[in-house]
Structures are given as structure tokens and as C-alpha cells.
């Protein structure tokens, strides 16, 4: 906590002072002291455990302990809840004093406000009896929503003061995961009501019963995150292993994955679908393994047979990965990433919008990465030249929507070009006729894109893909 910005200091100061004021002023009439202490202790324990059990979960919004804070709203009212919230600064965890104080204070403020909302809507303080149900549910839900909202706002403002979250620019805001997160945390916090309901009868056992499933769920979430990471690492490694056949395509699959994901995100697809398309981009060339190495690395003109072997690779790739059931529609992206809008692609010669959306995305990302990386027969193009080329072929080979999405995303986030300058042995551009392309297309050998653009009208990008990325 060294060198807090000035604005953040003032903000933290205001929050902490107002929380302390609330706690000091009271009033404490009508609050059972035993209950208050017990809940506060419980809250501290829950907070401590949750930081220890949950090491790094993205879903930081769900905290089991807030169920306890909301139980306090019902059992001991706004002021009591504020005391309980403030006690979280005593939790056992590694944290600087300023951060601690802020955390406690923001919990206190959120709980205090939630408590007043609860009272305002007709909730009563104290152990709810049988006559209070179901009338108590509505004010309680309102309190939950207030608590969650205020929590996020208070922390959000601090982050803004600290300049941690710079506005992420014009990228589409992803509401769906946020909503899912909020619904889940509201679901958790309903348990606060359960704690309150049976508090009178079974006391301390109530929160135990409630917190066990919550911590289990948190633990499972953590496990799942770790496993998802392992999955991703394995997938990436295996893809790269397949690429080792060709020095020049190193890293190609990862970059195509990134590019496809950028396009998909730019088009506003839900996060889950973006992820699928990312994986499909990673796996798009896996079928190349079925193509003999000598064909892939051949430097001269390809015979018809060799070209036919290359044309098989999308289908081969599809056959390999089709059992990965979660990819579902993204599988089509692997199968059809060499289709062209004008119907002259392979393997099926689909026309226009018959080509699955994921395939149109991957095809653009694929060609873009090919153009911007070095091959055995030419140097890498600049990003601008590659974009110009993609735009020229939009409509005939690519879906213009995807091309424009890529352009927007790249201009915002930049593009990581591979750092292969000179291969071992300095082989590139050694052959005079570098481009072994498909049967018909003549090939530009463009280290200088201006020269290429006029060369071939419809085939140049075809040449580009057909050649570099056969």
C-alpha cells in the first residue's frame, strides 16, 4: 500500500470515517449482545476461511461469508450488521492495514444500507417467527440486492481511483457472465435468511449447516478453474507438438486461436462461444499431420496428387477432433476453414452464407496470420499490407463482416507478429520460384505488397492461402 494516489486516500478516508461513525453512534438498543458477538465471530471465521480455501478464482464476487452478513441484517438490524461487517477487518489474512480498514468499512456501509432498505420495506429485526413467512422474503431479497450492488460500487470506485481498471474502450460489455455471477451470488445469500430462520432454535449449528455447502461449492469452483487451465495447457502443447513438423508454422495455431477469438469477441458473441472458436482456431490445422512431411515442405510446384493430399487436411482434422463434444458447432469451423465465399474453396465448395460462421472467422484469422508471418519462400508482410489484402478479397474469399471485425480488433489491441526472422540455415527466398500453389493460381512473391495487389484479381488471396497455408 505504498504511495496511494491522492484521490484514493481521500476516498478510503471518507469510507472508513463514515463506517466508524455509524458503528460508534449506534443506537444499540434492542440488540442482543450475545447474538451480535457470535455472528461477528462467525463472519470473521468465514472470511478467513474463504480467503484460504479459495486461492485464485475469477468469480471473486461470490463470497460465502456475505450470507452471514445478511443474516446479521435480519437478526441484529442495520447497526448490528454494520458492526459485523466491520469486524471483517480482523480476518486472518495477509493484507496491509489500509486495505483491511477499507474492506471492513465497505462491508459495514453495505450492510448498514441493506439493513435500512430491509426495514423500509417492512422487514422486522430479530429472529423471524412462523408468522413472518413468506412476507419477509421480499424485503430480504431487496436487502441482498442492495448489499451486492453497494459492495461492487464501493470497490469499483476504489479501483477507479487507483486507476486499475482503465476503461476498456469501445469493446462490447459482456453482460451475460456478470448477470450469471450476480444471480449465483444472490442464490448464495438467500442462505442468510435460512441462518436467521433457524437461529433461534439451533443457534450456532445453523451457520455451520449453511456454510458447508458454500465452501464446498467454492472449492469445486477452484478445482474446476485449475482443471480448465490444465486442459488449455495440454491442448496448446499438443497443437504445438503437431506443428514441429514445419519450422515456419511455429506458433501459427496459437496466433490463429487468438485472432479467431478477437474476431468472435468483436462480433459480440457470448464468452462461451468465443472460447469454443478459440479452441477450434487452435486445432484448425491438426489434420495436416495426415499430409506427408515432404509434401508440406516441398519447395517446388505441387503435383495434382500432392495438392489433393493437402486438400484433405480440413476433413482429416475434423475426423480427429469430432469426438470433443463441447466444440460442437466450432467443429464445422475446422472442417470448412478453407471454403471461400464464391464457392471455390475446399473441401465442399460451399457458397456464401452456407459456410458456417465459425469457419468464416477462422479462415480470416488463418490467412491474416499467414500473411504476417515469414515463410520459406517470402518475408512477412506488414500488418497494414495484410489488412489491405484481406479487404481486397472480402466478398470473394472472405466474409467482409469478419474482415472488418478483425481490422477493428487489431487496430485496438494490436497484433503479435511472430519473431522468426531468419530460420536456421537461412533458407528462405533461396528458391527462385518460391510459391508452389494450387494447379491454376499464379503466385505473387511479395515482399513488397504494392506489387502484388494488381497482379491477380481474384486469385491472389487464394494464392496466398492456397500456398502459404495449404
Amino acid at each position: 500500500m505504498r504511495a496511494l494516489p491522492w484521490g484514493a486516500r481521500v476516498y478510503v478516508g471518507i469510507i472508513v470515517v463514515s463506517a466508524v461513525a455509524i458503528v460508534l453512534i449506534g443506537p444499540y438498543t434492542g440488540i442482543d449482545l450475545g447474538t451480535l458477538v457470535l455472528i461477528a465471530v462467525l463472519f470473521v471465521v468465514a472470511e478467513s476461511i474463504s480467503t484460504h480455501v479459495v486461492v485464485d478464482v475469477k468469480e471473486a464476487g461470490i463470497s460465502p461469508s456475505s450470507a452471514v452478513a445478511l443474516a446479521a441484517v435480519v437478526l441484529v438490524g442495520p447497526v448490528g450488521a454494520a458492526v459485523v461487517g466491520f469486524s471483517s477487518c480482523l480476518a486472518v489474512r495477509r493484507q496491509g492495514p489500509v486495505k483491511r480498514a477499507f474492506n471492513g468499512a465497505q462491508f459495514a456501509l453495505a450492510a448498514y444500507t441493506a439493513g435500512h432498505v430491509y426495514l423500509l420495506l417492512g422487514g422486522t429485526v430479530g429472529v423471524p417467527g412462523q408468522s413472518d413467512f413468506p412476507g419477509i422474503v421480499l424485503p430480504y431479497v431487496a436487502a441482498v440486492l442492495t448489499h451486492t450492488l453497494l459492495n461492487s460500487v464501493l470497490i469499483g470506485v476504489l479501483m477507479w481511483c487507483l486507476d486499475v481498471t482503465r476503461p476498456t474502450g469501445p469493446g462490447p460489455v459482456r453482460w451475460r457472465p456478470l448477470i450469471v455471477l450476480e444471480v449465483a451470488s444472490v442464490g448464495y445469500q438467500m442462505l442468510g435468511l435460512a441462518i436467521a430462520a433457524i437461529w433461534g432454535a439451533v443457534g450456532i449449528i445453523a451457520p455451520l449447516l449453511v456454510l458447508i455447502p458454500l465452501f464446498i461449492a467454492r472449492w469445486v469452483f477452484g478445482q474446476q478453474t485449475a482443471e480448465a487451465r490444465a486442459h488449455e495447457a495440454t491442448l496448446a502443447t499438443l497443437c504445438q507438438a503437431v506443428e514441429t513438423k514445419d519450422y515456419y508454422t511455429r506458433g501459427h495455431c496459437m496466433r490463429v486461436a487468438e485472432g479467431s477469438a478477437m474476431i468472435a469477441a468483436e462480433l459480440g458473441m457470448p464468452a462461451e462461444r468465443v472460447q469454443k472458436i478459440r479452441y477450434a482456431g487452435m486445432l484448425h490445422d491438426i489434420g495436416k499431420l495426415g499430409v506427408p512431411t515432404k509434401v508440406l515442405q516441398k519447395n517446388g510446384k505441387l503435383t495434382d496428387d500432392e495438392y489433393a493430399a493437402i486438400k484433405l487436411h480440413p476433413t482429416r482434422g475434423y475426423e480427429i477432433v469430432r469426438e470433443i463434444s463441447f466444440l460442437d458447432e466450432a467443429l464445422a469451423g475446422i472442417r470448412h476453414h478453407h471454403e471461400r465465399l464464391d464457392g471455390r474453396g475446399y473441401p465442399m465448395g460451399l457458397l456464401g452464407m452456407e459456410i458456417p460462421e465459425s469457419a468464416r472467422i477462422i479462415s480470416v484469422a488463418d490467412v491474416f496470420d499467414c500473411l504476417t508471418s515469414t515463410r520459406s519462400y517470402r518475408r512477412a508482410w506488414s500488418v497494414e499490407a495484410a489488412i489491405a489484402e484481406l479487404r481486397r478479397c472480402a466478398g470473394s474469399q472472405f466474409d467482409p463482416r469478419m474482415v472488418e471485425a478483425l481490422v477493428r480488433a487489431v487496430s485496438r489491441e494490436g497484433w503479435q507478429t511472430p519473431d522468426i526472422a531468419e530460420p536456421p540455415g537461412g533458407r528462405y527466398c533461396a528458391t527462385e520460384d518460391p510459391e508452389p500453389d494450387g494447379p491454376s493460381a499464379p503466385v505473387p512473391a511479395p515482399s513488397d505488397p504494392e506489387r502484388t495487389v494488381p497482379v491477380a484479381e481474384s486469385t491472389s488471396a487464394g494464392a496466398v492461402t492456397g500456398g502459404q497455408d495449404r
Binding site: 413467512f133 455447502p213 474446476q224 499438443l238 480427429i320 469426438e323 463434444s325
Partner: protein, 443 residues
């Protein structure tokens, strides 16, 4: 953990006892139930089915006490059953249904009014709810694993049989510390019994050792069991105060837990599917014979079950077996026929090391990489590293067997190959593993 298999019951022949997580061919047996190779499962399903039927008939004849309460719980159980999930290792679970069933078995009173349902009624309501919830699944061809359904009904039945008489004799009406502790103790006992039953079934299905199966099931069910049991007790206690509202409100958090469980098992399944699919790149690349990796993995799984490996080790072994030839990708051209057992020892070792390097690159599969690296070492190990891990020895045997037999060897050829492997048990192959192979093949 696999695709929806209509029935994962009967292993259909040698080697298809299949990796647990595996989408391997579990075939539906054409035989009648009384000639099943899994008599214990049949006993459980038959017994619970008969009890449920008897309870239904009896309750229908005598009439339902508190019919609206019964209906509410029945619907919640049906909903939970409809939303059932498959946990890692083929385990079907319906947390909400089971928590609802536990709550109904325990419910001492509802919003202050005493309730008077009997053990029979609890069984009938739970069975009815479960059946209702499974109907849509069956209609679309996703039949449940009958033994798992039976276990859920059995748990409710046992809890009700233990608790319902106490409600009357001790006249328990509201929530109290004693009641809460009593419920907790009972539900803990029920959990242990349930784990024992599922361990017996698992040992029967995989032909592994009961002790190992017991440990596996305990580990696998500690999280779900804890969540379900505490939610069940909580709902029962809370409903005494809140009435039926509590039933709805307090199942919501369990729904969140269920989402967590489901996503976790989805990631697990995807991981396995990915490795399984990508292990085929060596086949498509022409490096090994078609289906080789998968057959080696199935065979290794059978052997490992026979030798009593724990579930976590089985999973690692399956990954290692699937990827054992991945090092061939680094070869410029395939080995003729792909049979590594025929390659020179130096070549074999290089492939193993290249493969292990690839796997180690992931940063998360170090044990798997180690198994792959040492898969071709002789029994005593190479150099001073000592005996290779059991997983490596299993893969070595399974790989050699599959290379020598090929895709469709007949029984005679299999026997001959096993004999050949047995001759090498002094230096090359682990005799225990070869024996296990022989008994897997004998099934």
C-alpha cells in the same frame, strides 16, 4: 464422464471393461436380468424397486397424510431428478432431489403444524418423484443408471425408517439443537452406508478391489455428499419455521452448488475427450496402427483395475496410455507399421523421451510424462533410477501385446502372445502385470 451411454452396465468382452472416464463401448447386454454378470447390482435395483412398489400400493390404499406437503416435496424431487448431473467417473447424482428426499424424511413439522407421514409414505413420495423426474430423460433416450437411482431411494428409505418412528415416540415438533444433532448423525451414517453400497457396485463393475473402490468412492463423494447432506438437514429444519416457502427458497443455494459440480465434471470430461481425440493424431499421421492408442489404454485400464490402482492413478494411466506414442510426431517419417515393439531399443527410448518432453511441456501432467518416459525400460529399470513406475510397466505390457496381436487377433493368437510375453518376465516384463493381463483376457 462419457457421452450419454444408455447403459453402462455390462463389459462385453475382453478389454472392454473400459477406462472409467472413458467413452468406451459399454454394450447393453441382451441377456435377461437374472443372468447378469453383476448380481449385486441386480439385487439392489430389484430390492429397492420392490420396496418402492409396495410402499406406493400401501400408501395409495391407506391414503396420503398431508397431501399438499407430499405433493410439494414430490415436485421438488422430480425437478431435482430432472436436473441430475453426471460427475467424473460416470457417477450420476441428483443433489437437489436427494436433498429434498432427505428433508422430507426428516421433516418433523411444517410452519408449526405437525406432519404425520410414515416411512411408507416417504418411500412412495420419493420413488414417485424420482420416477417423474426420470420420465423425460427416458423419453429422449438417456436412461439413468438404475443403481444410482436405487441408491437415492434407498438413502431416503433408510433415513425415514430411522427417523420417522422417533418423531412420534419422542414427539419432536420444532427445531432444536438435539434434533439438529440427531439429524446430522443419521445423515452421516446414511452417507457412509451409501458410499459402501456404491463401492461394492464399483468393485463389481470394474472388477477391482473393494478396499480400493471404497477409497475411490469416499474421495469422490465427500464433496457432493457434504453439500447434499447439510442442505437436506437445513431444509428440514428451516421448513419447520418457514413452511413450504423454505423448501423453494433454500434449494436455490444448492442449485448454485450443483452448477459448480456440473461445470467441474464438464471440464473433466472435455479434458479427457481432448486427450483421447488428440491421441489419434499419431494414427492419422500414419505413425501407428488405427485404434492402437485406444486399445492400449483400454487394456491398461483393465490391468490396472485388476492390480487395484486408485481412481486418480487410473486417470493418469489412461492419459499416459493414450499419449504413449506421441513422441513419434517428432520423427520425420513414420516407423514401418508403427509397431514400436519391433523398433530398436534405442529408437524406442528416443520416442519415449521425445513424447515425455512434449507432455512435460504442458506443465500439468508431470506424472504422465514420467510414465511415458520410462515406458520401454526393462523390469529392473535403466541405469540407477530403479524400477520404473507401475504405470510404465503396465503400458509396456499392453503396448507389446497390442503391437504383436494387432487389430483383430483371434483367441489363439492372443494366447500365444501372452505366452511370449510370459517368457520375457525375467528381464523385460513385470510378471504381475502379465498375469493381470492374462486374467483380463480370460474374461
Amino acid at each position: 464422464m462419457t457421452q450419454k451411454q444408455p447403459d453402462s452396465s455390462v463389459p462385453a468382452g475382453p478389454g472392454s471393461g473400459g477406462p472409467e472416464g472413458g467413452a468406451l463401448s459399454h454394450q447393453r447386454s441382451g441377456e435377461p436380468l437374472w443372468r447378469t454378470p453383476r448380481p449385486l447390482r441386480a439385487l439392489l435395483v430389484g430390492g429397492v424397486g420392490a420396496a418402492a412398489l409396495a410402499a406406493l400400493v400401501f400408501t395409495a390404499a391407506t391414503g396420503f397424510a398431508d397431501p399438499f406437503v407430499a405433493l410439494a416435496f414430490c415436485l421438488v424431487i422430480a425437478g431435482g431428478e430432472l436436473a441430475r448431473i453426471t460427475l467424473p467417473g460416470h457417477r450420476e447424482s441428483a443433489p437437489i432431489a436427494l436433498a429434498g428426499a432427505i428433508a422430507y424424511a426428516f421433516l418433523p413439522s411444517l410452519g408449526g403444524e405437525p406432519v404425520q407421514h410414515t416411512v411408507w409414505q416417504v418411500t412412495a413420495v420419493v420413488a414417485l418423484g424420482v420416477a417423474l423426474g426420470e420420465l423425460p430423460h427416458v423419453a429422449v433416450g438417456r436412461s439413468p443408471r438404475l443403481e444410482d437411482v436405487a441408491r437415492r431411494v434407498l438413502t431416503a428409505l433408510l433415513l425415514a425408517a430411522a427417523f420417522r418412528p422417533l418423531v412420534e415416540s419422542l414427539s419432536l415438533t420444532g427445531p432444536s439443537v438435539v434434533v439438529a444433532l440427531l439429524m446430522t448423525a443419521l445423515v452421516a451414517v446414511a452417507w457412509v452406508l451409501d458410499v459402501a453400497v456404491s463401492a461394492v457396485l464399483r468393485a463389481e463393475r470394474l472388477r477391482t478391489r473393494l478396499r480400493v473402490a471404497m477409497r475411490d468412492e469416499t474421495l469422490a463423494q465427500v464433496a457432493t455428499g457434504g453439500a447434499i447432506a447439510s442442505s437436506g438437514v437445513l431444509i428440514a429444519l428451516a421448513c419447520t419455521v418457514t413452511g413450504l416457502v423454505g423448501l423453494l427458497v433454500f434449494t436455490a443455494p444448492l442449485l448454485v452448488s450443483q452448477v459448480a459440480f456440473r461445470r467441474h465434471s464438464e471440464v473433466r470430461r472435455t479434458y479427457l475427450e481432448t486427450v483421447r481425440a488428440l491421441s489419434r493424431v499419431t494414427e492419422v499421421g500414419g505413425y501407428v496402427e488405427n485404434g492402437h492408442s485406444r486399445r492400449v489404454s483400454q487394456l491398461s485400464h483393465g490391468i490396472a483395475c485388476e492390480l487395484g490402482l486408485a481412481e486418480a492413478e487410473l486417470l493418469e494411466l489412461e492419459y499416459a496410455a493414450l499419449m504413449h506414442d506421441i513422441g513419434q510426431l517428432s520423427l520425420r517419417e513414420p516407423i514401418a507399421g508403427g509397431a514400436t515393439v519391433l523398433a530398436s531399443p534405442r529408437e524406442q527410448r528416443r520416442i519415449a523421451e521425445l513424447g515425455s518432453a512434449i507432455i512435460r511441456e504442458t506443465g500439468v501432467l508431470d506424472n504422465v510424462a514420467e510414465m511415458v518416459r520410462r515406458q520401454c525400460e526393462p523390469l529392473a529399470g535403466d541405469g540407477d533410477e530403479g524400477v520404473p513406475p507401475l504405470g510404465s510397466r503396465i503400458i509396456k505390457v499392453a503396448n507389446a501385446f497390442d503391437d504383436l496381436v494387432g487389430e483383430n487377433g483371434d483367441a489363439e493368437r492372443r494366447a500365444a502372445v501372452v505366452e511370449r510375453l510370459r517368457m520375457d518376465t525375467a528381464s523385460e516384463y513385470d510378471p504381475r502385470v502379465v498375469d493381470a493381463l492374462a486374467s483380463v483376457l480370460a474374461r
